[in-house]
């Protein structure tokens, strides 16, 4: 890696913000399924797009189910949350309570996945906005399924020549099921600069 996209301190901050966001999402989910949701420590990275793809391909080369939400405000980009087919099925099964009938998810199963992903992403955005004290809105969630590279590719269409990716891997467990997903914020370098400005502003409040 040449120069880091984000400094260590800011990575730590972003990671913690996602952590808190995930904590809230976990609460909503646990209310929904009436079970405890156990979260892993999220692993936050800020990388260039190609590196991100490499990272993702290491995780899986199966087709994925992804939910994307456009976000806007002080900084903007596309948020993508994807699960492997296996994890999707596990999650859906736990949420809906029925085993998916076929290998691929049906429409209703996609809808359930969409809602869960939306809850997670909104919790993360909400937390970032709250703590950093900046405005952040999200668009409606859309679901995309298929080959990972294609999915990520379509997200980058309007993000300029060299988008950057803030990515967080998280695993959460429902009883007897381990579900892992990737949350990614794809942003233009422009947008990253704006984010950094916000982070600076926030840090200055607590500068020692």
């Amino acid at each position: 890696m040449s120069d880091p996209v984000l400094s260590d301190v800011y990575c730590d901050t972003m990671g913690e913000l996602f952590n808190i966001g995930m904590g809230r999402a976990a609460k909503s989910l646990s209310d929904m399924v009436n079970e405890e949701v156990v979260l892993s420590v999220p692993n936050f990275k800020a990388v260039k797009y190609d590196e991100a793809l490499e990272l993702f391909n290491d995780i899986t080369n199966e087709p994925v189910n992804a939910v994307e939400q456009f976000f806007d405000g002080q900084f903007s980009g596309n948020a993508v949350l994807f699960f492997t087919n296996h994890s999707s099925r596990e999650l859906v099964q736990r949420i809906i309570g029925e085993v998916p009938a076929s290998q691929d998810l049906g429409d209703m199963e996609h809808e359930a996945l969409k809602e869960v992903s939306n809850i997670i992403l909104n919790a993360c955005f909400g937390c970032i906005a709250e703590v950093l004290g900046c405005e952040l809105h999200s668009g409606v969630p859309k679901i995309v399924a298929g080959d990972l590279n294609k999915v990520m590719g379509t997200q980058c269409v309007n993000l300029g020549p060299e988008p950057l990716v803030l990515t967080l891997s998280m695993t959460f467990s429902l009883p007897n099921k381990s579900i892992s997903g990737q949350v990614s914020l794809l942003m233009t370098s422009e947008s990253i600069k704006k984010l950094i400005k916000e982070l600076e502003r926030f840090s200055s409040l607590y500068a020692m």
């Binding site: 929904m32 949420i95 429409d107």
Partner: protein, 696 residues
């Protein structure tokens, strides 16, 4: 918020084909669109201006509030799925079946207007999607059910396209045919099976399928490794939704085993399990067939074969030996005759051969050759060695043959004649053959004997046995005759052979013993002058343990002195039942009775047997005696038998003493007793009490 008068925004708002509600940060309903109002049982005034949570009850109220907050306060959009919030609002589809509220999914979007934050709730009817999903799910599980059934079927199932190219094979097919899924897919189903018939088979199946949608047949199938097996096969033609033939479904059941079993059963039903030759039943049908066709074909010869001494082997060494003998003999017989024949084991030690397209002369030669071969044949079992002979009767099968039953009877009779004539020979059946006529008369005699037994037509005669060397008492041999109902009697020569053949001789014996002893009891004092009375026992009696016990009892319970009772058994009968004879003799001798060996010298055995039998007297075969004056050899025989007998401590009796010359010669030789027409004819038993017996 929207002007109530018709504006473009209002028009659009109310024209939307989904529901729209606008709610403010305090959950107050601000606006509701036409679609929503039309679908709900509330009117606009009941909703606008009221709190959302007062108008509607939600299962996850807290969650919905949080969602609305997120929208109004933070500008975050949300999605509420039907799975997690089923039928959120009480909406009905007016155009469809109105029994249930519609399945819905909702988008929550933040709206900013007049510096205020609001939230737009968009409601979509997803009932169709839900219904379709349910159907899909149901279809899927039904499909899985059938898939499982096919995967676990005990029949092989193959699915092809409409031209027979394989698209699927089930595990049973893989197992039986030996082709893996990968190997079978894409290949022609018809080509995979018996390669030789492939193109015809396919076209014939396709032809059938053109007329109706299924084909059924039994055919052979070849596995990957070249093993042939038989299948009972159904091929069905499946059609797609346009009713066009789209696939073929072939279902095979392996019937190889069943066919095998059927074949085995059929084989077992027609073959003798011991020798592997065909059995009587099967031979009968072959014979019938050939007799029916006899007019169109050249003649055949039917042979009936009987193993001599089979009984001896069986009795001496056991059934295992007998079985092995039969096996060995059947091989020898089979190899002796040409291929064009049918050889069968009829049962016991009897065999039959149908020699195709031959005549009596050739057949006789072949049979004599067999006898010749068997001359050197020795059967060995454990420590015993036996020589085996065979008696054969043959008859011609041609257009004059009446029936298979007749033919077999002829051959059998001829075989019996061969046996009577001394065995180990061939006898040819001829029409009007007197000997055979007599054979055929046997059944007549069997009936007669049974009658005589039941109606008590037997009568006892006695012939004197006269002492030759010293003046001592006379003994008598009991002979049996049948009253013929016209005052005459029937001599035993006529009925005794039949009695032997039909296993009736022991019953005659029993009658004789019963009545003789009864007579002896009744005339106790009147027979003081009699040395002893001799009763003949047949071979059948010797092997009858029950009869032995009966005799024991009878003798013991009668008041007759046992030494006055003597039994005669022929040398041949003794040899044929050696073990039993010994037992019989020993048992009765213990009682005090006497035993004579009858017809001695005429059998094939050696003096060695004699040593084992504890007899008191030896009756020299009349054959030697009657010609002894003229025939030096015969005289020599008489002399040697007499000498050996004496050495062994036995007394000798000569049979067939017809005149004085013979009598005198016998006296010279030292023979102890004589019996014959020259010394006394057989008379009714009552007459022997009279002291006046005619002695020449």
């Amino acid at each position: 918020m929207l002007k109530s008068v018709a504006s473009l925004e209002r028009v659009i708002f109310d024209a939307a084909s989904q529901g729209m509600i606008i709610v403010d940060a305090r959950y107050q309903i601000i606006e509701v669109n036409r679609w929503f109002i039309d679908s709900i049982d509330l009117c606009k005034s009941e909703m606008v201006g009221k709190s959302l949570f007062k108008v509607f009850t939600f299962e996850r109220e807290q969650f919905i509030k949080q969602t609305i907050n997120q929208a109004c306060k933070s500008g975050l959009s949300s999605f509420l799925s039907n799975s997690l919030h089923p039928r959120l609002f009480p909406l009905l589809n007016r155009y469809q079946n109105c029994s249930r509220y519609m399945d819905q999914s909702c988008y929550i979007k933040p709206i900013r207007f007049d510096n205020q934050s609001y939230c737009l709730i968009q409601v979509q009817d997803v009932s169709n999607t839900v219904a379709r999903e349910k159907l899909l799910s149901k279809t899927s599980s039904t499909l899985n059910l059938f898939k499982t059934a096919v995967e676990h079927s005990a029949s092989s199932i193959v699915i092809t396209d409409h031209q027979g190219i394989i698209e699927y094979v089930n595990p049973k097919f893989v197992e039986i045919a030996g082709f893996s899924q990968e190997e079978a897919l894409g290949r022609s189903y018809f080509a995979l099976s018996s390669l030789a018939h492939e193109p015809q088979f396919q076209s014939s199946v396709m032809q059938t399928l053109q007329q109706k949608d299924s084909w059924h047949g039994e055919r052979s199938f070849v596995t990957k490794s070249g093993v042939k097996y038989w299948v009972n096969e159904f091929i069905y033609q499946a059609r797609n939704s346009n009713n066009v033939p789209s696939n073929l479904i072939a279902i095979q059941d392996d019937v190889t085993q069943i066919r095998d079993i059927a074949r085995k059963a059929s084989y077992q039903a027609s073959h003798d399990s011991l020798t592997g030759l065909i059995n009587r039943k099967e031979f009968d049908s072959v014979l019938i067939q050939n007799i029916e066709m006899a007019e169109q074909t050249p003649a055949h010869v039917l042979c009936f074969l009987d193993i001599d001494q089979f009984k001896v082997v069986n009795d001496t060494s056991g059934h295992g030996a007998g079985d092995e003998l039969l096996r060995q003999i059947s091989v020898v017989i089979n190899e002796n005759y040409p291929e064009e024949k049918v050889l069968a084991r009829l049962g016991g030690d009897e065999f039959a051969i149908l020699l195709y397209h031959t005549d009596l002369e050739v057949a006789t030669q072949q049979c004599e050759h067999l006898i010749y071969v068997l001359h050197d044949f020795r059967f060995r079992w454990e420590e015993a060695v036996f020589s085996i002979g065979i008696s054969i009767g043959i008859t011609l099968i041609n257009e004059q043959t009446i029936s298979s039953i007749e033919a077999i009877k002829q051959a059998e009779n001829a075989c019996d004649a061969a046996k009577d004539m001394g065995r180990n020979r061939v006898y040819i059946y001829q029409e009007d053959d007197s000997a055979l006529v007599q054979r055929q008369g046997d059944t007549y005699w069997a009936t007669k004997i049974n009658e005589a037994l039941e109606d008590d037509l037997f009568v006892l005669y006695a012939q004197p046995i006269v002492p030759l060397q010293h003046k001592s008492k006379i003994s008598y041999e009991i002979l049996v005759r049948i009253h013929d109902g016209e005052g005459g009697v029937i001599p035993p020569g006529l009925f005794l052979p039949a009695a032997e053949r039909f296993n009736l001789s022991h019953r005659i014996d029993r009658w004789v013993i019963d009545n003789t002893l009864k007579w002896m009891m009744n005339h106790g004092e009147e027979i003081d002058h009699v040395e002893h009375i001799s009763i003949n026992l047949s071979g059948l009696t010797l092997s009858n343990e029950t009869l032995l016990n009966y005799i024991l009892e009878l003798v013991t319970s009668s008041k007759i002195a046992p030494r006055k009772i003597s039994f005669e058994i022929t040398e041949t009968a003794a040899i044929a039942n050696l073990v039993q004879a010994k037992h019989f003799i020993d048992t009765l001798k213990k009682l005090g009775c006497q035993f004579a060996l009858d017809d001695f010298g005429s059998g094939l055995s050696s003096f060695a047997y004699l040593k084992n039998l504890n007899v008191d007297m030896l009756k020299i075969d009349g054959m030697f005696v009657k010609d002894m004056i003229d025939d030096a050899i015969d005289e020599a025989m008489v002399k040697s038998i007499n000498d050996v007998g004496h050495v062994m401590g036995m007394e000798t009796i000569a049979e067939f003493v017809e005149d004085d010359d013979i009598k005198n010669r016998l006296i010279e030789l030292g023979v102890d007793y004589g019996q014959g027409y020259g010394l006394g004819k057989p008379v009714p038993i009552d007459q022997i009490v009279l002291k006046s017996v005619e002695i020449a």
